[in-house]
Symmetry: D2
Subunit: 342 residues, 4 copies
C-alpha cells in the first residue's frame, strides 16, 4: 500500500517534490500546503486530485497521512518538523536540516523516540556522479584521500535569511559527508557581505580532518560565471567533478606524486624527493536517473524497512554542525573553531 505524503511549501523546490513523489510508486501525494494563496491556487490547478491547505497543521491532523515533505525557508524547518514528528508523520526535509545544532539534535531525538524516519534532502548524494565518486573512494581507486576542493559560484540568488554558506556550501558538506570516510575536526572560514546588513554572499571555508586531509569550499552569489567544480585528490588518482558538463561530469586522472628515497644531489634538489606521475584520464559512464526520484524511493524504502538513509537526521546534523562552526569562524575572520565530536 502506498505511503500517503503531503508537501509543505510550494515555492521554488516544492513543485519538484510533488512531481517526484507523485511519480514514485511507493507514494501517493494527498496534500499540498503553502501559506501563499497564489502558489496554493497554482498547485490546485495543476493537481486537481490533490487536497490543498494554507495551514500545515491540517496535514498533521489528517490521520491518513503517513509522511510530510517540508520545503519551506529554513527558519520554519524546526517547528514544522517537530510538529510533524509529534503528529506521528515521517519527515522529509529540505537542506539544511535546521538553523542550529541544538534544533537538529532535538528532531533526531524526537524521530528516534517515535520510531519515525527523518530524512534530509541532500540531493547531490543521490546523483550518479556523486555515487560514482563514492564507489571510487570505497574501492580504493583514489587511494588515500588528500583533499576535497570545491568551487560553487554564480550570480544570485541572494538569500535574506541565510548566508551563502548555508545555501551553497551545504551541498559540498553533504557530498563530503557521504564520500569522505574521515571525520572533520575543525574549520576556518572567511567571507564578506556586499549588501549592508545582509548575510555573507561570498565565503571560503576550510575543513580540517583528523588525518592529513583537508577540504576547501568556495561559494559566491556574486560571480559573473556559473561554476560547479570539485577536485578530489587522492594518493593513487585524482577526480575532477564538473556538474555543469552535459556529459563526462566525472574525470578520473591517473596523476599524482610518488615519493622516492634516493638522496638528491645538489643538481637535482627539486626532483630528488618527488616523482610526478601523469597517466591516462578516464570518464566513467554515470547513471542518469533524476536524483530526487532516487531519493524519494530511498525515503519510501526507509519507511517500509525501518532503515536509515545515507542522508538521515544524523547526516543532517553533521552538516549543520560544520555550518554553525563556520558561521562563527567567519565572524572572527578565520579564527579556527573546533568541531564537537558527534
Amino acid at each position: 500500500m502506498s505511503i500517503k505524503i503531503g508537501i509543505i511549501g510550494y515555492g521554488y523546490w516544492g513543485p519538484n517534490l510533488v512531481r517526484n513523489f507523485s511519480e514514485t510508486p511507493e507514494f501517493k501525494v494527498t496534500w499540498i500546503s503553502d501559506i501563499n494563496p497564489k502558489r496554493l491556487a497554482l498547485a490546485a490547478a495543476r493537481y486537481p486530485a490533490i487536497k490543498t491547505s494554507a495551514d500545515g497543521q491540517t496535514l498533521f491532523d489528517d490521520p491518513n497521512l503517513d509522511a510530510v515533505a517540508i520545503a519551506t525557508p529554513v527558519s520554519a524547518h524546526f517547528e514544522l518538523a517537530l510538529r510533524a514528528l509529534r503528529a506521528g508523520k515521517h519527515v522529509f526535509i529540505e537542506k539544511p536540516l535546521t538553523e542550529t545544532v541544538e534544533q537538529a539534535e532535538r528532531l533526531i531525538e524526537e524521530a528516534r523516540k517515535r520510531n519515525l524516519i527523518l530524512q534530509v534532502d541532500h540531493t547531490f548524494i543521490y546523483t550518479g556522479a556523486v555515487r560514482k565518486i563514492r564507489d571510487l573512494v570505497r574501492e580504493g581507486v583514489l587511494g588515500d584521500l588528500y583533499y576535497y576542493d570545491s568551487v560553487r559560484i554564480n550570480l544570485g540568488l541572494f538569500q535574506p535569511d541565510i548566508s551563502v554558506l548555508w545555501d551553497l556550501a551545504v551541498h559540498d558538506l553533504s557530498i563530503m559527508d557521504y564520500v569522505f570516510p574521515a571525520a572533520p575536526v575543525a574549520v576556518s572560514a572567511t567571507g564578506i557581505n556586499h549588501v549592508e546588513g545582509q548575510p555573507a554572499n561570498i565565503a571560503f571555508l576550510t575543513v580540517f580532518f583528523e588525518n592529513s586531509a583537508i577540504a576547501h569550499l568556495h561559494v559566491n552569489w556574486l560571480a559573473p560565471v556559473k561554476m560547479r567544480r570539485t577536485l578530489i585528490g587522492g594518493s593513487r588518482r585524482m577526480v575532477v567533478y564538473d556538474d555543469l558538463e552535459p556529459s563526462e561530469k566525472i574525470k578520473v586522472y591517473d596523476k599524482g606524486i610518488t615519493l622516492n628515497g634516493t638522496n638528491g644531489n645538489k643538481e637535482n634538489i627539486y626532483q630528488a624527493l618527488i616523482d610526478y606521475r601523469s597517466g591516462d584520464m578516464w570518464a566513467p559512464r554515470l547513471e542518469i536517473a533524476e536524483a530526487l526520484r532516487v531519493e524519494a524511493q530511498g525515503f519510501g524504502h526507509s519507511i517500509n524497512q525501518g532503515e536509515a538513509s545515507p542522508s538521515d537526521g544524523a547526516a543532517g546534523l553533521r552538516v549543520v554542525r560544520i555550518l554553525e562552526a563556520a558561521t562563527r569562524s567567519l565572524r572572527e575572520r578565520g579564527n579556527p573553531v573546533e568541531l564537537a565530536r558527534s
Copy 2:
C-alpha cells in the same frame, strides 16, 4: 650608452633573463654567473661573447658592470642583493624579493641610500592582460572593487625550501598590489603538506582590505589539472581572467547586482532588495609583447631616469609582508594575522 648587466643564476628562469636583456637595446649582458659548472658551461656555449664566473662576487667586483639580475633560489636573494647594492650595482631580482620583511626593508634602505634601482620580477604585472585589468579599474569600468578571487593550481613542481604560497600565491599578490587601490589589513590562511617535513603544497589565503573588498588565493601543487583563473568583481562590471586561454584571456561581464529601495512584500522577499543585471560580455584585444621584455625596458628606464617602477622594492616588500603573515596564519589554522602598515 647601454647598461651593462650580469645575470646570477642560470637555472630555470635565468636563460629567459639573459635572452630578454640581450635583446633589449638599453642593455648589454656582459656576465653570467652560476655556482653549477654544467649550467655555466651551457651558458658559455650559447653565448660565447658573454663572460662567465662561478662566483657572483666577480661580477660585483667588475667596475664596468652597472646592474645585476638575480635568479637564484630565494634563500640566496638577500645576501647577493645586499652585496650587489653595496658594490653600487642596480638590482633586478626574482620574486619573492626576500624570505622576510626585515630583509626586504634592509634592501630597500640600502638601495635608497645609494640611489640605486631595486626592481622585483613581478612578471605578471607587465603582461597585456594585467595591464588591461589595471586600466579597466583605473578608468572606473569595474566600479568599486568587491573581490579578487584566484585559482592557480597544477601538478608540481614541489619546492623543498618554500611553500606553495611563496611559489604561486606571490603572483596573485603582485597582481593585486598592482591592480587594487585599497590596502590589505589582515590575512587568514590555511593549508596542508602532503609530503612529511616539507612545506605546504596546498594553501588557501584570504586577504582582508580596509574597505569592503576581499581577496582569496587558492594555490595547489598537487592538482590533476592546470588552472590559472582569476575573477575580479566590481560594482559595475566583473572580469574573468584566464591566463591559459590562447586568446580572450580577459572577459569583461556587464553583470552584477543593483540594490533598490522598494520594500519587499512577503511574496517577493527574495527579489525585493536586489536586482540582478546580466548584459553583454566583452573580450578586449590585449597587447601581446613578452612581459619580461617590457619589464627589462622598464628597468632600463628606471635606471636612466631614476624613477621607481611599479614593481620596485616597496612593492616587493608589500608582497613579502603578506606572505610572512600568511605563513604564520597557516601554521595557526587560519587564525587571522593583522598586517603592519607600510
Copy 3:
C-alpha cells in the same frame, strides 16, 4: 477573441506545441489528435479540458476550429495540410514543410487561394541568438557576408524515413534563409549511410550563392559528441554561434583580412597583399524568450493581421528546394545541382 487551434500529432514535439499555444493568449487549444491511442490518452490525462480524437478529420470538420498545428512525420505533412487548408483552417506545420518542392508549391497555392496563413515551424529563426545575428547582418556590423559554416552533429536519433539532411540540415537552411540576403544558386552534397538500406546518416552540403558567398552544412547522427556550432564570416566581422553554450551563444569577432594595394617585394610575398586584423570580441546579451512562444505569437499575429511571417510557406519551399537538390547531389557523389529560381 482567441484563435481556436488543434494540434495533430502528440509524439516528440506535439506536447511542446500544446503547451506553448495554451500559454499564448491569442490562442485556445481545443483539440489534440494522434493516431496512437496511448499518446492520445496521455494528452487527455494532462489536458482534461481539451478534446481528443484519433482522426485529424474530426478537427477539420469542426467549424469552430480556426487553425491546426501539424506535428506528424513529414510523410503525412502534405495530405494533412492540404485537407486542413481545404477545410479553411490556417496551418502551422513542422519542418520540413513537405517531402517535395511540388507539394510545397501546391500548399502555398492552396493557402493563397483561400487567404489562409501557412507557417512552417522554423524554430531557430525565433531564438534570441538567430534574431541577433540577423540584426548584426542587417545593420552592416558583419559587412559583406563571406560564408556560413555549420556543424550540427550528435549521436542519434536515426530516422527511418528521411536522411540526416532533412532532419538536421533543415535547421541551418532555415537560419540561412532568414539571415543571408543573397540567393542560393546551386548545391553539392556528399554523404553516407552506415545502416544498410537506410537514408544517409552523415552528410556534407555546400550551397553556392549568386555572389561570392558560400555555405557549408555538416550533419551527422553518428558522432561521439554533440556540437551545434556555426561560423558566419563577414568582411567586417565574424560570428561564432554555439547553441550549446549556456550563455554567450553569440560571439562577434573583430577579426578578418584587409586587402592592401602595395606591391609586395619578394621578401614579403606572403604578407604583401593581405593584412590580418585581430581586435576585440564581443558577446551581446540575447533575448531569452522561448522560441516556440515567439513563434506562436507570430502565427497569431499573421492570422489576425493577414501578414506573412518570416517562416511562411515560401520560406518553407525555399528550404525544401535546397533539400531536394541536395538529396539528388548526394546520390551522385557531389555532382553539383542548380537550383531553380523561386
Copy 4:
C-alpha cells in the same frame, strides 16, 4: 659516422629543421642555403659552425654531403629534389611533396633508381597523438572505420601560390593515409576564394573509400577562431582528436550504434532498428616527443638501413594524387573525380 645534411630554405620552417637535425645524433648539419641574403645572414649568426650558400647547387656539388632537407615554397620542390637526387643525395622534403602527380612519380622513380631515400615531412604522423590513433585502429579498438571528419581552420596565413587545400588539408590527408587501411577511390571538393585572383581560402573535401567509409576535410584561412579537431568514427568506438588541447588530445568514446533484428512495431518505429550505446570515455596518455625529432631519427634510420619510412615518396604521391583531384573537383563545384589506382 653521422649523416651530413644540408638544409635548403631558411624561412618559416627551415630553422626547425636545422635545430632538430642538429640535435639528432645520427646527423650533422653542414650546410644552410637560402636565396634570401637576410635569412642566410641570420642563419650564419646563429650557427657560426655551419656553412652557408645562397645557391642550393653548392650543396649538391659537395661530395661530402649525404642528404638535403628542402623547405622552400612547393613550386621549387620538384626541381631542387630532382637535382639533389641526381647528385646522389638523400632527400627530406616539406609537404606537399610536389605540385603534380607526375612530378611526384618522377622523384620516386629517380630515388628508386639510385637507391636513395626520399622522405616527405608529413609531420603529424610522427606525433604521439596520431601514432596512438593508428595503434587504436590496428588493434581493432575502434572496430570498422566509418568516417574521418576534420576541421582545420584559423585566421591566415593566406598563401599566394597554393590553395588552402594544399596548405592545410595536406595534413589530414597524410594522417588519413597513415591511419586508414582502406584506399580512397574518388573525391568531391568545393570551395571559394575571397581575394580576387587568388587560390581558394576555404575548401571542403569529401573523400570516398572503396568500402563504406567516408572522409571529410574542412579547411579555412579566414576563420575567427582556431580549430584543429578530428572525429574518427568506428563501429566499436569513436575518437575525438583535438590538437589544441594542452593535454588529453585524444578522447576515445565507447559510443555508437548497434543494429538489432527485432521488427519494430509502429509504436517504436524509430527505435526498433537501432540501439544507441553510450559508455565510458578514455583519454590515453600520449608520447610527448617532438614530432620533427622522431621524424629526423626515422630519416636517419631509413638512410642507414635502406628501409622505407611511413612518409616515403609513395605516401607523398598518394597525398598529391588526392590534392590534384580535389583541385579539379573544386573548380567544377563538387563534380566527383575518380582517383587512379596507385
